[in-house]
Assembly symmetry: C2
Homo-oligomer: 762 residues x 2
């Protein structure tokens, strides 16, 4: 936006400005329908425990083959389902590949059923029918009536402790099932081993060790009942065929040790009408003793409401960091639910004493930081971590320290790619922890020796020749498609990562590193084909790949995005990219075409995680590679189109309903896009220190930073049709550039957008 | 022996009395043929590492069914085999059920072969032909030429570190294979998970987690090569069918992380002629970091001979505790090899910093003691632990402290039954840790608060109703065969254990406990059938089991012994037993019949671990329940028959050759029987403080106790035919009883047996 004219100011209606109870605006059910892959259960900000209902369990593999149905259950819950199989303690929020679902708890009465039963037939197993009419989902609180047995289920959580409260009918045969078979993205060999010890008549500990996305993943638990069980037992659904002495006496009932690959345990009670049985269920990455200590220290008592209050107060403290006003209640719901989803992961991954399991599978103690896991970095480097860098700088720094610990402990001596639970799952491409760290270094959020050590780790990571084409990339300047698939996406993202490293090096005065990587960051040019105007796969002999189709993804050198979208992925050098593509006017046409094209039906059959809803024209908002694209008009003569597109995306891709997300929320990246864009700016190239201006969707916003300062944002003359920004003032001075810097934002003050229903160039 | 007459004294020939190099007398190959189940490899006394060649790997299960061939490979090595598949780091010594065989190392040259190949066809895999002519087996040293590739293999060990030294031919393609598939008593699901990290070009760490006998067992390792490898890789022989991102780039070669269920890794070298590649291979029960620390601290350098010298010096220190003279070299070989086998297990089970994995699978630190594992207690309570109680009281006390830690950490709150590697495998019957502890308490080797706490643990263990018929035993006074199989054996052993508890209680002045358990110790009477004169199975209604056959074991109420043998198992009340069986004369006839009967051929088909060699008449020395039987003549008027039988057993059941053991050595129990009996006394009922006199087979023996005192034993007029003892003097005074007490022995002095070729009653 080059020229900005003043327009008439209309004060926004103040909604919620003085209101500190943000819980009312959050609807955890948003994204639980279709492809959002969020879950509705209880968790505190960045909590280790995500205690949530699972509505079905679809195996990831059936007979060794991928079961497409599994994808819908990445978060365990699908809004359209009619039954709940139980409540498990770990869930990813919004991912497009999955894991977890550890330790399913299900209360039942009557005949003991130790299998979940068939979907659509709740009587066939311990699953129960439920209805959304009895369902309440709030931050850190979930309630539902399990209709089969008329058991009211409620749950809340602390950071490491899930708290269940089941209100039973009168029964001589009440049961609480602990299912260690259940899991998300389960397959026959997923459970490597599970282990349960009954310590006494109300305390149970154990662990679940799985493979799959987390190649070698173990979660320990400690479970305490508010009431002693009268008897207990288990069934092993896939006993090891060893004929040893374990079985010389009956160990299936009231015997305090259980171990195997497919265990379901049960605990029996007698209940009076409306009797509540509560369960505290603590997790640990380290040991059952660690879980017990977490349980007893974090939630010593049995006051469910107190735990819920504490959890919701923690959420309110987070939400109050940004107080917005908007015309519609739904805007508040979308905003605070986006904040909610943005502040779920990465999750705390250490015991209260600081011990955690490192990627070397040894136990380490976090010294001077909180250790986190679940780094969906290919998604979250774009907007979520930049958002943390501004709103959660202490946590972001601790997340970076967690990444550096991962680096120190990894056999590859690499920063994390996509890591969770002491594992590198190598998901997606690039090594975008370098972007997260560079963004923090450039902002001054990581400095001194630590920043220099981090830069060394970034450089070492970027030189790991055996990693995913890096050897070729270093040798040829691009990843050749005949040597390494999805080569164009990799080349483009490596080039951006190079830029990020260079920026950190520049900030730290490390000239040699800067020179090396700023040069490498130009490698995007090697996969740009001037004859077609697209990025396209190149072979190791320098020739272009045959059969190129810019609309296709699979086998075309791309991943989660076609050439139409990925060709625009030079976030660190839009000017260079635009010049290569024929200049600004040509580029505007190209962007316009992207946003307005009609895609063939065949397009939607190709990939599992793109729905029509997640697409505008050929622009794919449901996947991340295009998340910066709407802001690219800022580099042309028509920045008003950025404003228009951003508001359109905000309007069409985010709704205050279960089907409100057009694609996977991806651990908060989709939500972070919403948060930035709603506030009026977006980090097109993290570590560039440029937050590109868009079009704010709030009336006002007050952001409270950790440094004690406050930024007030005002969108004067805001309205549904007034999406165009004619002028921006910062602390009373007109901004003569189309971006904010990190200090512009965090030094606080007053940021005013002057809105109009007409673009300035119109 | 009631009357003893003086005989002529002949001074024994002094052999080896001044010789402190006992290594020359030890032949670790004894017991490696047939059923001895010992291994020939390198270990230090009670060492965590048992680095030994494995000559074959026979799966424990084939298609889910028991493979009888596996039994021969309990220790990994069978003397008659012609090939070695490699050298693994953990082995049980002499067990009759098995596990371990962790981390097989095999050096090869030429084409890489990652499968062991077929027995009899060494070219079919990495196995190699070998010959006993190139084989040297000494305490803590093993050497053999691997003939296929002309690689000389040598090995030695520290407590926690195995040290390999391979002398290669010149080769551009030398390999060292690390096989994590290999194991003892392997089956398809035995490997729960294995994990390998290549830390740098000479350091590798990882773990192997198995199920089977050890239900949940994990061993960690750290491995260091003396020379960097040039490349490396692995093959997963049973990859998990998960199609995740692990494989987005080639991770099978030169990629530093490997995980799966069936991995074999390899490391490549170029070698000059006669170049030695050495490997230090440390174990840890805790972590790979623990293993690395053990490696670097315990064996910091690369001097193979120095490690061997230190190990052999440690063995010499142990052997020098008993210096014997005897006529024949073979007697010295049998004696010191028995000492060698007796001092192999239990094994140290903790890192150098004291950390170990408890049975609760948490990490604990041994405070004030060394933690041990591998408690084959059904075997070793009889003679091995009583031997330790005298010769190794400090270690025995630490073993008891290890048992008490197990008790503290066990979900069952029971002392160990048969435990190894942080697991209770529940093997065999009874809970004979109570005997071991009682024996130490009665001897004063465990005292004060610790002894009282131990007694509490013993009582708690003996009251565990769900354990193996204990509830019935408490209710009915016996285990009913219709409720719990092998009921007679259990009843008899519980009754003995009750006696042991009572003796400990008596020593500690705990009268109520004494009264309860001395009463319970009479329960053997409930399974004695006066009409047949045999112990036999009783039903819960009080009737005797039908179809009783005192020669049979299976289905007859017994385990590892028939009624002929087991009926004599009232070690704590031989007088009562003899009275019940018709008095002394009748009893002598019964014992005589046992030792002289002709067993039908069908007898030998019945059980796998009894050979004709292990049997004298119907007396079964190859299994433990009869180990006290030869000493029962001491309670009759013909104690000379004890002397005669004992010498006969010593002569016929122990030979200085690979097939020299008539049955499983059972973690040293068979050897401990030999040691006691050779010295002239035996603990028929541990905790009774009665070491029954037999007939010494040495000429002289000098025992050095930890208390600094010395007992000199002399067998005057010793000779092959002079097996009868006519008189015994202790410190010059004639002994007027047929047993020694603990203090008789450990106060030291001079014990003289007067030997004759005629019994005093003849």
């Amino acid at each position: 936006m080059k020229k900005i004219f003043p327009i008439v100011l209309v004060l926004a209606t103040v909604v919620g400005a003085q209101q500190q109870n943000f819980i009312q605006y959050v609807n955890p059910l948003i994204g639980t329908q279709k492809m959002g892959h969020t879950y509705p259960g209880a968790t505190v900000p960045f909590g280790s425990v995500q205690l949530s209902p699972d509505t079905d369990e679809q195996p990831y593999l059936i007979g060794g083959k991928y079961n497409k149905e599994a994808y819908r259950y990445c978060a365990g819950y699908q809004y359209d389902d009619k039954e709940i199989v139980g409540f498990s303690h770990t869930h990813f929020s919004g991912t497009g590949h999955s894991d977890l679902g550890d330790f399913l708890i299900m209360p039942t009465v009557g005949d003991l059923q130790l299998e979940p039963g068939q979907k659509g037939d709740p009587k066939s197993g311990f699953r129960s029918a439920f209805s959304h009419s009895t369902e309440v989902a709030e931050p850190d609180y979930y309630k539902v009536l399990l209709e089969d047995d008329k058991i009211l289920a409620e749950m809340t959580a602390g950071t490491r402790v899930g708290f269940h409260q089941y209100t039973f009918p009168a029964s001589d045969r009440a049961h609480i099932i602990l299912d260690l078979v259940h899991g998300i993205y389960n397959f026959d060999d997923k459970n490597v081993w599970t282990f349960v010890r009954v310590e006494n008549d109300h305390t149970v500990v154990g662990y679940r060790q799985t493979t799959g996305w987390g190649r070698t993943r173990t979660v320990y638990f400690a479970m305490e009942f508010s009431k002693p069980f009268t008897s207990y037992g288990y069934k092993d659904f896939a006993p090891v065929p060893y004929r040893g002495f374990w079985r010389k006496f009956d160990q299936s009932k009231n015997f305090p040790e259980m171990a195997g690959k497919q265990l379901r345990a049960y605990f029996d009670f007698k209940t009076a009408a409306n009797e509540k049985i509560k369960i505290k269920f603590a997790l640990s990455p380290v040991s059952t003793n660690g879980a017990l200590a977490n349980l007893n220290t974090e939630v010593p008592g049995w006051d469910f409401d107190q735990v819920k209050r504490a959890g919701q107060a923690a959420w309110n403290r987070e939400f109050s960091k940004i107080v917005i006003t908007a015309d519609r209640h739904d805007d508040l719901v979308n905003f605070y639910t986006a904040m909610y989803h943005a502040f779920i992961s990465p999750t705390v991954y250490m015991d209260l004493d600081g011990e955690y399991k490192g990627i070397d599978q040894n136990i380490h103690r976090a010294a001077g930081f909180n250790n986190y896991t679940t780094f969906s970095l290919w998604d979250t480097y774009r907007a979520l971590h930049p958002f943390f860098n501004i709103i959660q700088p202490t946590r972001d720094r601790d997340m970076i320290r967690s990444m550096l610990a991962h680096y120190d402990q990894s056999a590859e001596h690499m920063l994390p790619v996509w890591s969770h639970y002491a594992n590198e799952n190598w998901c997606m491409i690039g090594y975008h922890s370098v972007s997260v760290i560079a963004d923090a270094i450039v902002a001054g959020n990581l400095a001194g020796a630590e920043a220099n050590r981090a830069l060394d780790a970034m450089v070492q990571t970027a030189h790991t020749k055996y990693y995913d084409g890096i050897g070729f990339y270093e040798q040829l300047g691009y990843v050749p498609e005949d040597k390494n698939s999805t080569s164009v996406s990799k080349t483009l993202e490596y080039a951006y990562d190079d830029f990020a490293i260079a920026q950190a090096a520049k900030k730290l005065g490390r000239t040699a590193v800067y020179n090396e990587f700023i040069k490498r960051s130009e490698n995007w040019k090697h996969v740009f084909d001037p004859s077609t105007g697209f990025m396209r796969p190149k072979m190791s002999d320098g020739s272009w790949g045959k059969g190129f189709d810019p609309l296709k993804t699979e086998g075309q050198g791309f991943i989660e995005g076609n050439s139409w979208n990925y060709s625009l992925y030079v976030p660190h050098d839009p000017d260079g990219m635009i010049a290569a593509m024929g200049g600004k006017d040509q580029f505007v046409k190209r962007l316009d075409e992207l946003f307005t094209m009609n895609l063939p039906n065949s397009f939607f059959a190709e990939t599992e995680d793109i729905t029509r809803e997640g697409i505008i024209g050929g622009y794919i908002h449901g996947n991340e590679p295009s998340h910066h694209v709407a802001y690219l008009y800022d580099w042309t003569n028509q920045p008003w189109k950025t404003q228009e597109r951003v508001r359109m995306i905000l309007k069409h891709q985010y709704h205050a309903s279960p089907d409100g997300l057009g694609g996977n929320d991806d651990c908060g990246q989709m939500s972070a896009w919403y948060l930035f864009s709603t506030l009026g700016f977006y980090p097109v190239a993290p570590a560039s220190n440029m937050y590109m201006l868009g079009s704010p969707a709030v009336k006002t916003a007050v952001i409270r930073f950790e440094n004690g300062r406050t930024l007030s944002i005002e969108a004067r003359n805001q309205g549904d049709r007034n999406v165009y920004v004619t002028k921006v003032t910062l602390n009373g001075r007109e901004l003569n550039r189309d971006f904010l810097t990190y200090t512009d934002i965090t030094n606080g003050g007053k940021l005013v957008f002057f809105m109009s229903d007409k673009p300035i160039s119109a």
